[in-house]
Symmetry: C2
Subunit: 176 residues, 2 copies
Amino acid sequence: MKWIAFLPVAVAAVSGVAAFTVHASGYAEKKAAPVFGVTIPLGYRDWRLISVAHEAGNLNDLRAIVGNDSAIAAYREGQFPFPDGTIIARLAWSYVPSEENNKVFGRPQSFVAGPATEWALQFMVKDSKRYASTGGWGYAQFNKDGIPADEAVHKTCFPCHEAVRTRDFVFTRYAP
Amino acid sequence: MKWIAFLPVAVAAVSGVAAFTVHASGYAEKKAAPVFGVTIPLGYRDWRLISVAHEAGNLNDLRAIVGNDSAIAAYREGQFPFPDGTIIARLAWSYVPSEENNKVFGRPQSFVAGPATEWALQFMVKDSKRYASTGGWGYAQFNKDGIPADEAVHKTCFPCHEAVRTRDFVFTRYAP
């Protein structure tokens, strides 16, 4: 009856948003994040790059912002607001000096992605009906093992993204 | 006779490595880089992410390292050395403080990708026969308009990458 075990994956592949993930670190069942009910999208690590950033301070990370096909198409074609079905992901790794690179450059200048940060994963999911009260976006944060942050954390997402309401609540610009 | 104009693109799509590119900034004809004869690969901006980094100092960039399917498969499956056909690309943007993000965070901590840097594009192309004398890799650097760097610059690539000979001359590790 092996097909039963694979059924959720098949359903997830069709829906595009999964209760399970293929993340290389192999964590299995995923819980939906509170407030918005967002789960980790299947295959997000294969998505195309939107941009990169460095957050210093307490976060101290290097991050990649990637998007599903809908996100990439919308950015490139200037489709605004983003269409329903758009998902934008933020992946974060610790900001680590590279001794190996610095030796080659001859000075301490190189910082690379180390292990995933504690809160490695964030997602924005566009569904203008379901998330009408939060600008059409659902928000989710998961730790590096795929466990969602609590309700209090998720209630801080939208107030923060309101700062960029004129850009459909999305901070990141496309890197050419 | 419009088909003539599109012929090089069609040939490039089949060969996978192009004398022309689909880069959004729209630059047209590409010259092969000196020494190794590498041209800008078609569709590199759609490749999947290997990792991200920040080079401070004179470079002062945020960079994404992306790879073609062969590169991504090799990284994930631990295939070593990288197989012929692997291409790894380094895309660099200027390292710019984000006033917009800093306002939201309440302190100056956010750095994002600005315009492409002067030497925005680098590629490593694996061909163990053609590039036998340089570890099996051909190297190329192009500016943001797709113009290759000169011969002197290209002669510095391999000596630098020799520092990581034990990792098949590739500096970047895969970010999980």
